[in-house]
Subunit: 620 residues, 2 copies
């Protein structure tokens, strides 16, 4: 068993693809980790914006959350329809491209690509950041821990979809289970106490208000809370990963993910208000996350508290997995349309699209290293991409229904149209609210990626036009190639090359660069080559001697070959290069690398009509 | 004019070699820098050993120096004879190998190789060390200055022998001129004062003796002083670099170098005694070099003092040049005998043996970096090598005369025999005196280098035996090769490859790894290949379809080729690889590198009977 087998598992055959497919139970951790984990930071992000409003701010978490939940519900119904309409995977790119044109499809794709890379980096560093605020002694190892988790996620994903589901199952359900329990008990206690429960451990008092209520601050709170919606698109993109019946399985998974997310968001918002929990400043000392205060208030700081907080940390850092599950699929679809290198569409040894995984891992690692494992400054960059993709996808669906019609198409158009409208408004809100903080960078990156994708497409188009051919072989003007054999001294290697040359063409020229063996070679050529060939009644091969006063060897031969080709513009030319091949690399220092040099020069300076033939001689 | 032309000069043609030769005036700086510069550290090294003897030690510099000068005189006469006997260059290696056998020749060579590398590193760092003791603010830049000087010496040597002579002319003659002037004036003053001159600037008082006189301390002083002799071998090795008449020119150069060196050594020893100058501890504060004290004592610290000291620094750091002049020549001669990679014998663009220069520069740089530019600890490692080479060379000459006879051969034998005897004793003295300090490392390195040289020789022998051939072409069993063309889809590229295949053999097989285009290709093959070929009345090429459940492409093709070759053990096989060649490197990401992969795999797993043919298609 090789090391690769051990690390990544044995290669899977094409026919095993069906066995790699998953059901809703595994689908929730694979495609839902990102969405579900956002319950841990979405409400907190909104509350942080509301800090300056004091007690009033805490009470405004309710309307803000309700707005987010309504948005989420609309998005749910929209994507539900997308899954039905696109059972082979209907990510924003596919839906937008097919219905409203390639440019808008690519716009959605570019937005999503940026978003996935950011999600992966921010997810990992958020989890590690939470871990470090719990165990401060790990601080010097921040980057190393981040990269370790990245490596783990990469390897698990390379091992295949099914294994990824199995690995992420426990942390996901532990997170959902403990958090729902805490929320449930909190709600029961609060109801029993008539809406004003006594906390087991009281949260810190809410500081006095320092700003007045205004539309702008609520808008910003909403925009920040919307990060809770990122990752919702994942299921629609990955429908093909589900087992038969694919669409219903995918739909069930999406329903479960969004249902759980709504429960979590609603429960958290209501309890925050009930227990009067304000966010604390993440930069200041005494910082504690909202969920930590909430669980402590409802359950106290027993074992349950630590299990809950532990599973939150775990799920946060593993939320990067959604990017790993989806970006390679997205890249594959774009690559099939020739807007990205085609190798993104190749399935690796475990049937996953390995190249996308590698590229995502590399970009994420680069971001983590660049920011030393603390990616807070990247947070304002995302959400724009996700909501732009949502909008384009929903808009595409509207045109889809108009084109396809079918029963109830008006109702379907209305649902997707509503989705497009509200997510479109959200894009504007998020963009305006976060523009200065960094959303402008996303606005610059998207056109850059678009340019790149168009350049790739144009190049593929040019190449395929150039090599396209659908005509039979034309065997009328059929002439054997001219063959040139560079030769330094007479040896078994040279002899073999000349024999091969004679076997492929009657038109052979030996080429020799003048050196101390020239005179001897001339005699040997006459005796060993010309004589036996003439005896067969064939014209004997010539030996061309090239002077080289500056002791260069390869370039005079290449000059000769190119010159010969110019003189015979209608003929194919083959250069036969005899080459010693050693069995051990360290012997290479003992031989001149002229064969390699000649090959490289011919490769660079050659043309359509020059074929290079390697005649290897393996030293035993 | 290219950058390389500017840096290294225009390439020189073979016929310009004669113009590159030098006379004694340039020969002294090129081959004598190492020997002459040793006047600056030889006496100092001996005096440092004598420090514990106090005033008595200073007076013992005279007998020690006389012993060294006698040794030098004997070595001079010995090498004078070698130059006459070996006008094409009679380094220790050549003389020992021709007269007392290859093993002893290689022993001398290994000893010299080590010595040259050490000389280069120690020379540069000694010069820089002296510079830094004069300008302490340069201390943090020690390594950078060392590497800068190394780069300068390397480039000057790559520019050719004549230019090296021109560049090193001024510092060498300035050094000799100023030092001889100071010594001459000092001697005149001392004689005028009846042997007890009054110093212009008095040297520090000689410290009291801390040890008693003994044979061992005198032996160590002698051994240390003997470093003054290293570099004397250089001229005999480089006779071929002199213009006609070569031997007399070389002899004159050697006589001048040794004459000057004896004058310097004798003058320094006598003045040290007259002015009562003791060495100061190089590690302690208040350290001053012996020559600095001596020049200050005779001339005062005026401009003359600074010019003299400056030229000493310069010559010390440039003394590395002797290694650069000689090691490449030595490596060339060894390479011609196949004990080192043959490329050492190639003349570079300026007719010098560039590879030796590169290797020496790399090894020197490695030593300098390893020791941070301070190579004091390397000093005990050398001298052993030089004297071992001297001894073997002289011993070789004794056998040379016995063989050649000729007039006065007995006298010649005596001279060389005496040389061998005294240098042989010196080897033992140096080895014993410096064994613990590091000479043992040299004793380990020499056999290691010997083993390497023998391994190289053995390998060349095996290869040349295997490829040796002096028989004419055997055209009786002449069959065209089987040709295999890997093909993915039908395209102009594939078409061109198949046309070429048909032009070199009637026996062509298309090989296709199963994929989504398989069905289409089958049809195209029938229509575009089989039909037109059959119309000509020839058997049509087959299309072999290889299944690949694990999605590998290159290795199934290689397996197929190797299998085919096993089934046809008497036939040559050619694999034609169609390949897209892009004009820009960044397009490579857009195409799979299967052609390159296939070539590499065939290269590794191939055999004598598999030729690989590149059919390039250049994208316009």
């Amino acid at each position: 068993m090789s090391f690769l087998d051990l690390l990544l598992g044995k290669p899977l055959a094409n026919w095993e693809e069906r066995g790699e497919r998953i059901g809703p139970v595994a689908g929730i951790p694979i495609f839902g980790l990102d969405a579900l984990s956002s319950a841990a930071y979405g409400p907190e992000a909104a509350l942080t914006i509301l800090i300056p409003l004091g007690v009033l701010g805490v009470s405004y978490i309710l309307p803000v959350s309700i707005a987010i939940i309504i948005l989420l519900t609309i998005v749910y119904f929209s994507y539900r329809q997308t899954i039905d309409a696109y059972p082979n995977g209907g990510g924003s790119y596919t839906v937008a491209r097919e219905n409203i044109g390639a440019p808008l499809g690519l716009l959605a794709a570019a937005a999503l690509l940026i978003d996935y890379v950011l999600t992966a980096a921010v997810g990992i560093s958020a989890g590690v950041g939470a871990l470090i605020s719990a165990v401060p002694s790990l601080l010097p190892h921040t980057l190393a821990i981040c990269l370790g988790i990245l490596a783990l996620i990469t390897i698990v994903n390379l091992r295949g979809v099914r294994e990824a589901g199995a690995v992420f199952l426990i942390p996901t359900y532990l997170f959902v289970g403990t958090l729902l329990t805490a929320i449930g008990i909190g709600v029961v206690k609060a109801l029993a106490a008539g809406g004003h429960p006594a906390p087991v451990i009281a949260p810190p008092p809410v500081p006095a208000a320092t700003a007045a209520l205004g539309g702008w601050i609520l808008l910003k709170a909403f925009a920040s809370g919307c990060t809770a919606l990122t990752g919702v698109e994942a299921v629609s993109n990955g429908v093909a990963a589900f087992r038969e019946p694919t669409s219903p399985n995918a739909r069930k998974t999406l329903a479960a993910i969004i249902g759980l997310l709504i429960l979590l968001l609603a429960g958290i918002a209501w309890l925050v208000k009930a227990y009067n929990i304000a966010a604390t400043d993440p930069g200041a000392s005494g910082y504690q996350s909202v969920l930590s205060m909430l669980v402590a208030a409802t359950m106290g700081k027993g074992i349950f508290y630590y299990v809950t907080i532990g599973s939150i940390l775990l799920v946060l850092s593993l939320s990067a997995n959604t990017a790993f599950a989806d970006l390679p699929r997205l890249c594959r679809i774009i690559a099939l349309d020739s807007y990205l290198p085609r190798s993104f569409a190749n399935r690796g040894r475990r049937l996953v699209f390995s190249e996308g995984i590698f590229v995502l891992a590399a970009l994420t690692a680069a971001l983590l290293v660049l920011f030393g494992g603390v990616t807070d400054r990247l947070i304002p960059l995302y959400a724009v991409g996700a909501f732009l993709a949502f909008t384009l996808s929903q808009l595409g669906m509207v045109f889809h229904w108009r084109r396809v019609r079918g029963p109830a198409f008006r109702r379907n158009m209305f649902i997707n149209g509503l989705g497009a409208l509200v997510t479109g408004i959200t894009v504007l809100v998020v963009l305006v609210a976060k523009f200065i903080d960094g959303a402008w960078i996303t606005m610059l990156l998207i056109p850059a990626i678009l340019l790149l994708m168009y350049a790739v497409h144009r190049h593929y188009g040019r190449v395929s036009e150039e090599v396209a051919d659908s005509s039979p072989l034309d065997l009328r003007h059929f002439r054997p190639a001219q063959v040139v054999v560079p030769i330094e001294r007479w040896s078994a290697v040279a002899k073999k090359a000349i024999l091969f040359a004679l076997s492929i063409s009657p038109d052979v020229i030996g080429v020799h660069v003048e050196c101390e063996w020239t005179e001897q070679l001339k005699k040997e050529w006459q005796e060993f080559v010309e004589k036996p060939v003439q005896e067969l009644g064939i014209a004997a091969p010539k030996l061309a001697i090239i002077p080289s006063p500056f002791r260069y060897v390869s370039s005079p031969i290449v000059d000769y070959v190119i010159d010969l080709q110019k003189k015979n513009p209608d003929r194919q030319l083959a250069v036969l290069i005899p080459e010693l091949v050693e069995r051990h690399w360290y012997y290479y220092f003992l031989h001149n690398q002229r064969a390699a040099m000649l090959k490289t020069l011919l490769y660079i300076r050659g043309s359509q009509r020059i074929a290079v033939v390697n005649i290897p001689w393996y030293i035993e």
